[in-house]
Every structure is written in structure tokens, then in C-alpha cells.
């Protein structure tokens, strides 16, 4: 554990440096532990409770065994951006990854990526400045590599994990090419949307000569709960994902990659991103009993139709007086339940989104579904089943889709993502 201890110590030092005497080492340490998941979460049981501090000062360790933004309790806001490389040069790609890694560390610490107001009159500011003085706001930045990064352009084919390939076509899709794929992605999550946007904007800006932005989604309300968080509601007004992964054991079993064919993926995870358009107006006109039957839960409590409290275990065998299952077999929770999927679980980390009005005059809004799993097949199996028979399908369309390999975390300053590709 010594590497983790040293991480915590250096966090404490830099916190003091940038935020004055109020911040304490133990606070930073506890948060770092909370962010890390796995063995570190177990360690946090022995950590002092963090003193109450403004949420703006909350900070998650950047250098750690796993990237933050996966096991980290979901923050309130998301900015997700997918990028394509415009350069054909492996050296330029290396430069982007090294620059980004250094800048990500700076921003997650609540620091600008360089001068906001250069002393020289003719200099262009290095950092755009709109996050100045706002604190780290629990910012996490999570980097992913798309399957296309490993094509012939950069000579990286031999580093491609065999599990990393485009998701297969699935029922219930109506994909818009404008929201599919990407060579790289950044998931930025924070308690303030401006801090998250600032981070993505500055990463895009510092690589503007090498990458172009492909698509982006702004999530304005988290739609998934982490450990000790209450389950939020999606835009349909329902609690969904109540049975999300929260324990270190489940993270180890279902989320973190082990013994990959590519050692750089060990400790990483696979990120599935799906932009799901909700047919909001149609849903809003649906009667409540049907809404209950679609989800398999009631609306106010979020309780399964066989229970009273949200966290009551659903009883998929229970039948009503009519002899039919109380929780319909084609309801969302019945189809997604691990009991009905050979124990398969995924870590959901989705956000609600809205993009105004769509091309045919409907509200353009829905769920930006993000999930992490050690094998993309976990998602593919679940979604194939849901896409085929989920009652919810009448009210949703999957319009965006991407899969990214999220490498393990960086152990310390001076290391960068993808370093193994260039040695």
C-alpha cells in the first residue's frame, strides 16, 4: 500500500499549497480512498471521517490504481466528449496523451492548466479561465481508447485488446452516425457543470491541431447511484438502477479487468456509452399502471411491484390473483436483473440529458447511459435481451453508441496514458 500512501501525502501537500490551511491531509486521504474502489475502499473503513467541507473543495486523487470516475460516487454533472485524431503521426498522438495526462492531473487538483492571464501582452492565455476560483468540485476525468485508435494509422494494432471492438448491431437501435464511435473519449464528472466543461474544453483546445471533436453530451442530472447515494430519477420519473454495483467485491468481479491479453488494461475497464432518446411526450401520456408495468417498480417509492421499499428484493416468481407474474417478465427490471442473466452485473453511471428540440419537433432528451464492465459482452448480453423484448422499448431509441477501453490509472506524476505504446 505504500504507493497509495505516498499519493495521499502528496495530495495533502498540494491541497495546502492551493487551497490554504483549511484543507487537511486526512480529508484528502479519505477522499482518495473513496474514489479508488477495490482494496482501497476496504482501507477507508479505518480512515478518519472527512471533516465537513464545501463540496467545491471535494477532490479525488488523480494518480491511483484505477482511473477515477468509475467507482467514484457519481457527481451531479457530466460532460462527455468523443474525439477523432486528425494527425496520422504516432508521435503527435503520444504528445496529445502526455499533454492530456499532465493537464488532467492539474485540473482534477483544481488548478488551471497554465497561465490564465499571461504577463506578456501578445501571449494567448494557456488556460481559458472559466473555472478559476471554483475549486476542484470533485472533478474526475476518465480517458478511453476507441477501437479505431488501434487501426493502421499509428501502428498500435499489436496493443489492441481482443475484447475491444465495435459493439454489434442490436435490436432497438436507431443510431445517428453523428453520435457513434471515436478514437478517444473523455468523461468529465463534477459537482459543477462549468468545471466539467472547462476541463473538456481545455483538453480539446490544447490538442486542436491533432484531434477534432466528434460528438459531445452534457449530462445535467446523474441517473445512477453509487454506494451510500440515494437512487436518483430518470426523466421518466422513475428510479432505475437501484441494484447498481456498489461493493468492492462486485467491482472486482464485474468491473476491473484482470489478466487481459494487454497488460495496460489490467486494472482498467470497458466503457459503454449509449445515447438513449426518450419519447418523452408519448411517455407523459401513458397511464400509471402501464408505467409501473414497464419498469416493474412503482413511481413514488421506486419499490419493486412485489415489495414496499425501494431496496426490497424483487420477487420475479410472485403471481397475482390473475395468475400472471406481479412483475411482468418483459418489464425493465425483470429483464435486467442479474438473477435472470446468469449473475451478470454492470456498473451503471448514466446521466440525464437534453438537447432542445429534435428535427421532427419533439423534446430531444433522455438518458446518456454509461456503464463500466470488465468485458463488453456483459453489456451486449443484457442489451440484446432488453432490446428484443423490453416494454420500455416503446418509449426509447438508442441513437448513440460507442465502446472505449479505459486503461488503468496512472501510478504517479511523470507517467501518461498509453505510455506503453511508445516505449
Amino acid at each position: 500500500m505504500s504507493s497509495h500512501e505516498s499519493t495521499e501525502t502528496s495530495d495533502g501537500v498540494s491541497r495546502r499549497r492551493f487551497f490554504g490551511a483549511g484543507a487537511t491531509v486526512s480529508a484528502a486521504g479519505a477522499l482518495a480512498v473513496g474514489a479508488a474502489g477495490g482494496a482501497l475502499v476496504a482501507n477507508s473503513l479505518h480512515a478518519e471521517p472527512a471533516p465537513s467541507e464545501p463540496i467545491s473543495e471535494r477532490r479525488y486523487a488523480f494518480y491511483d490504481a484505477h482511473q477515477a470516475g468509475i467507482a467514484t460516487p457519481p457527481q451531479d454533472h457530466l460532460v462527455f466528449m468523443s474525439f477523432d485524431l486528425t494527425t496520422q503521426s504516432a508521435t503527435e498522438l503520444q504528445l496529445v496523451l502526455a499533454k492530456w495526462s499532465a493537464a488532467m492531473a492539474q485540473m482534477c487538483a483544481g488548478e488551471p492548466v497554465g497561465n490564465v492571464e499571461p504577463a506578456r501582452e501578445q501571449a494567448v492565455p494557456v488556460d481559458t479561465g472559466e473555472a478559476m476560483g471554483m475549486g476542484p468540485q470533485g472533478l474526475t476525468l476518465t480517458l478511453g481508447f476507441g477501437p479505431s485508435l488501434f487501426d493502421q494509422r499509428f501502428g498500435l494494432a499489436k496493443f489492441k485488446p481482443k475484447l475491444l471492438k465495435d459493439l454489434p448491431a442490436m435490436a432497438g437501435e436507431s443510431l445517428d452516425p453523428a453520435y457513434v464511435g471515436g478514437d478517444l473519449c473523455i468523461q468529465a464528472c463534477a459537482y459543477d457543470p462549468q468545471v466539467a466543461y472547462h476541463a473538456v474544453r481545455n483538453l480539446a483546445r490544447m490538442a486542436r491541431t491533432q484531434v477534432k471533436t466528434r460528438w459531445t453530451v452534457l449530462g445535467f442530472g446523474r441517473a445512477s447511484a453509487g454506494a451510500n447515494q440515494s437512487t436518483p430519477r430518470n426523466l421518466m420519473g422513475f428510479k432505475d438502477g437501484t441494484r447498481n454495483i456498489t461493493t468492492p467485491e462486485d467491482l472486482q468481479e464485474h468491473v476491473w479487468v484482470e489478466d487481459s491479453d494487454q497488460s495496460w488494461m489490467d486494472g482498467g475497464s470497458y466503457l459503454v456509452a449509449r445515447k438513449i432518446h426518450m419519447l418523452i411526450e408519448t411517455w407523459d401520456a401513458d397511464y400509471i399502471a402501464d408505467q409501473h408495468a414497464v419498469f416493474g417498480r412503482n413511481k413514488t417509492e421506486g419499490a419493486p411491484l412485489t415489495g414496499k421499499q425501494e431496496h426490497d428484493t424483487p420477487d420475479f416468481k410472485a403471481t397475482g390473483t390473475d395468475g400472471k407474474p406481479v412483475i411482468p417478465a418483459d418489464s425493465h427490471i425483470a429483464l435486467a436483473a442479474h438473477e435472470n442473466n446468469g449473475g451478470t452485473k454492470i456498473l451503471r453511471r448514466g446521466y440525464n440529458f437534453t438537447d432542445g428540440i429534435d428535427s421532427v419537433g419533439r423534446l430531444d432528451a433522455g438518458l446518456f447511459f454509461l456503464s463500466f464492465q470488465k468485458d463488453p459482452q456483459q453489456f451486449i448480453s443484457l442489451q440484446s435481451k432488453l432490446g428484443a423484448s423490453d416494454r420500455l422499448n416503446e418509449y426509447i431509441r438508442h441513437v448513440g453508441s460507442a465502446l472505449f477501453a479505459v486503461p488503468r490509472g496512472l501510478p504517479e506524476a511523470g507517467k501518461y496514458f498509453g505510455q506503453e505504446f511508445f516505449s
Binding site: 502528496s10 501537500v13 498540494s14 495546502r16 499549497r17 486528425t86 503520444q94 504528445l95 502526455a98 499533454k99 495526462s101 499532465a102 493537464a103 492531473a105 492539474q106 488548478e111 492548466v113 497554465g114 497561465n115 499571461p118 504577463a119 506578456r120 501582452e121 501578445q122 501571449a123 494567448v124 483546445r205 486542436r208 491541431t209 491533432q210 477534432k212 471533436t213 504517479e412 506524476a413 511523470g414 507517467k415 501518461y416 505510455q419
Partner: protein, 419 residues
């Protein structure tokens, strides 16, 4: 976006309200006097005594391969970035600085300064990357190694031996560049004078087709030097205002009302003829104002970047040539003007930052190659008509191409201003 954004941008001490389409007042003429003062004041933050740490104080760097070898190491010590030189002095002559960043995430560049002038620099000094180096030829005297973001930012470096020669080759090259650019502007304005004469002649003859051709022929001469023209706050609105930017109660003159008559109404009226005569008169004024102008290197640099702003703000949207739709003709002319400004700075800039210079050159090549794909000999102006379909299919691609060029280009003003 107001067109004034793309004018040659200098500190504007007058802070008077800008005309909607006009340029920064006094940029070229009165701005010259104040710039030096402001630039000096602005550098005050870095001008403190150089008190950096050196690994072996007083120890002159060894000379090998014809150059003194100095290692510069940036690293994080107790949460602070420090910048350390292994030798604090070198004999006069070529000096190579090999720069590496071990783990200081907040530091990404290193410069060698003499007083406040940048003599050489290395960007992308990023933790985890291999060391990189730059070489400069130095005369005897005091220098500073500047590591923005480290503590301290400036480290003293002494060169022993013969003093630096009075001439500074970078400064001389910049002077040659700005002189050359002045001639380029004069040449473009001369051509513009001839082109608007032809436009007037075609309009006076009542030939709409000939007028359209003459219009498309004249525009590039203006667009290539737009930042210079825009620095004359009364003239630019009179020449290049679009209808949306006309102040209520003001008469709309210049290229665009003529464009509207000959491309949209396809008729030449007495008013069209009066507009053409006015255009010829105002271009003559432009010639008298630009003749003999001297430019500063940073004005060329800002102008080069400003032309790319023009492309993104008004050409890519199709609002510049709303009636003729020859926006790609203007687009290409803006890029050509931008590249000319850069080319005149290039000899000096490549001494300061060779990598950046190469990056920008390669990007200009890429943009030029992409624009070649839009050539259409049968179209007026020689480039495809920028209609809604072309905009829908290609605008995003073109925008990203221009942005990827502007990012590195926007860095050069700072470098040449201090050289």
C-alpha cells in the same frame, strides 16, 4: 460576430467604442507609439531578479559537438515545480539546452531570455516524454532561463567571453520580414485599385455578367490584406459592411450593396453606378493610407490569426457573400493573406521555435491542399459556389481544419513581439 475582431489587434489605449464592422482604432498608425510601452509594462511580472537554483554554480558547461551542453531538469519537489540547470554558465558560442520534465505537470515550456527577449524555446516539455533540446548562439552576458509555472520562474545563466554582437540576427530577420510584408500590402492594394476600376467600368457599361466577374476578381485583393484595411476605422465600414451591420440612418456603401444589385437583383441602376464610383474613391483613400506604413512583427502575427478568425466567423457561415455565394473565394484569399504574413515571419520564427514553425508550415500545406479540392474553373471566382448543400456537407470539416491551424498560429505573436 463583429468583424472588428479580426483587425490587427494591438493594445487599444483609447478604448473608444468600436464601429460595428470597423477595426481597432489606430491599430496601425497611432498604435505603434504606445505598443512598446505597453509591452514593456506587461513583461514586468517576469522581470524580477533571476534567482534560480543551479546544480553547480559557476561551473561552465562542457563543450561537445561544437556547442556547450546544459541540462535543464524540471521536477516536482515537495509539491512545487522546480527548474534546475546543471551548469550556470557557458563560454560564448552555440549553447544547447537539453530539457526534461520528470513529473511537474504544471510546467510545459522553457525559454531562454535576454532581458525580456525570447532567444529560443522548447514547448511540449511534458512529464514522461523524452528530453528535447534547443540550441542558440550566445555572446557574453547575462541571460535567464524561464520556466513558467515553476518556482522560481527565472534562473540566471551567464555566458562568458566576447560580448554579443550589436546586430541581432532574429531582430534583423524580423525587420526584413515586416519590410517585405509592407511591400506585399502595397502590391495587393495596387492590384485592388486596378480591379475596382474594372468593376466600375463594367458597371458603367451596364453589363451585369461582366460586373459579376469583375466583382469576384476584386474581392481577393481586399480579403488578403483585410486586417490592414480594417485598421482604418472609417474606411473599412465604408468598404466592406454587410447589410446586417449597417447602423440605422447610415448609408450602406462598399462592395456588398453592389454585390446585392448585380447578383440578387441582377440589375444595374444609377445607384449601383454611384456605389461603384464611391468604391473607387475609397480604395484610392486606402492606397494613400497604406502607402509607406511600417508594421511590427506581432501585427503580422495577429493579422495572420485574425484572418483565420474571419474565415470562421463570416466565411464559413456564408454571411460574407450572401448574394454571390463566392465565400470560398474570400476564404482562400484570407488563408493566402494569413500564410503570407506567416511566411514573412518564418525565417526569424524558425530560429526561436523551429518545431512550431514546422507545425504551422505543415498545417498551411494541409489547408491549401484541402482548398484545392474546391477549385472549379467554371464557377465565378474559380471556386465552387458556397451554397446550402456545400455548407451542410463541408462546413464542419473546414472549420476543424482552420481551427487546427489557428491553434499553433495564435502562439507566434508573443514570440515575435519579444524577439
Amino acid at each position: 460576430m463583429s468583424k472588428s475582431r479580426s483587425a490587427l489587434r494591438l493594445p487599444d489605449p483609447s478604448a473608444t467604442p468600436r464601429p460595428k464592422s470597423g477595426a481597432l482604432r489606430s491599430a496601425v498608425i497611432t498604435g505603434l507609439g504606445t505598443l512598446t510601452v505597453l509591452a514593456l509594462a506587461a513583461c514586468g511580472g517576469n522581470s524580477g531578479a533571476a534567482t534560480g537554483t543551479t546544480g553547480s554554480s559557476g561551473d561552465a558547461a562542457p563543450v561537445s559537438n561544437g556547442a556547450a551542453q546544459v541540462k535543464v531538469t524540471i521536477q516536482n519537489v515537495d509539491g512545487k515545480a522546480v527548474c534546475v540547470l546543471d551548469h550556470s554558465s557557458a563560454p560564448a558560442g552555440p549553447v544547447s539546452f537539453e530539457v526534461s520534465n520528470k513529473d511537474a505537470s504544471g510546467v510545459s515550456e522553457v525559454e531562454l531570455l535576454s532581458d525580456k527577449r525570447i532567444l529560443g524555446e522548447r514547448e511540449n516539455v511534458i512529464p514522461g516524454l523524452k528530453p528535447s533540446s534547443f540550441t542558440v548562439t550566445l555572446g557574453g552576458g547575462s541571460y535567464q532561463l524561464y520556466c513558467p509555472g515553476s518556482e522560481p520562474e527565472n534562473t540566471a545563466f551567464t555566458v562568458t567571453g566576447s560580448a554579443a554582437s550589436a546586430g541581432n540576427s532574429v531582430a534583423e530577420q524580423l525587420k526584413a520580414g515586416t519590410d517585405g510584408y509592407a511591400k506585399y500590402v502595397d502590391g495587393q492594394v495596387d492590384s485592388l485599385v486596378g480591379a475596382v476600376d474594372e468593376l466600375k467600368a463594367a458597371i458603367d457599361s451596364g453589363d451585369v455578367n461582366a460586373a459579376q466577374l469583375a466583382y469576384a476578381k476584386a474581392r481577393p485583393f481586399y480579403e488578403r490584406i483585410e486586417p490592414v484595411a480594417e485598421s482604418f476605422p472609417d474606411l473599412d465600414p465604408a468598404l466592406d459592411l454587410r447589410i446586417a451591420d449597417v447602423q440605422p440612418g447610415t448609408k450602406w456603401t462598399g462592395f456588398h450593396p453592389i454585390e446585392k444589385d448585380i447578383f440578387e437583383a441582377k440589375t444595374i441602376t444609377a445607384n449601383t453606378k454611384a456605389l461603384a464610383a464611391g468604391l473607387v474613391g475609397n480604395i484610392a483613400k486606402l492606397k494613400s493610407l497604406t502607402a509607406g506604413l511600417k508594421y511590427k512583427a506581432e501585427e503580422l502575427a495577429n493579422g495572420a490569426s485574425g484572418l483565420l478568425e474571419e474565415v470562421q466567423s463570416s466565411k464559413i457561415t456564408g454571411e460574407e457573400e450572401a448574394y454571390s455565394h463566392i465565400d470560398l473565394v474570400d476564404f482562400v484569399a484570407n488563408i493566402e493573406g494569413s500564410q503570407q504574413s506567416f511566411e514573412y515571419l518564418k525565417p526569424a520564427l524558425s530560429k526561436i521555435d523551429a518545431d512550431l514553425t514546422n507545425t504551422i508550415s505543415a498545417k498551411f500545406d494541409e489547408v491549401t491542399k484541402a482548398l484545392d479540392g474546391y477549385k472549379d474553373a467554371s464557377a465565378i471566382g474559380g471556386y465552387k459556389i458556397y451554397d446550402a448543400a456545400l455548407k451542410a456537407s463541408d462546413a464542419k470539416k473546414l472549420t476543424q481544419l482552420i481551427q487546427s491551424l489557428q491553434a499553433p498560429l495564435s502562439k507566434i505573436a508573443e514570440k515575435v513581439a519579444t524577439a
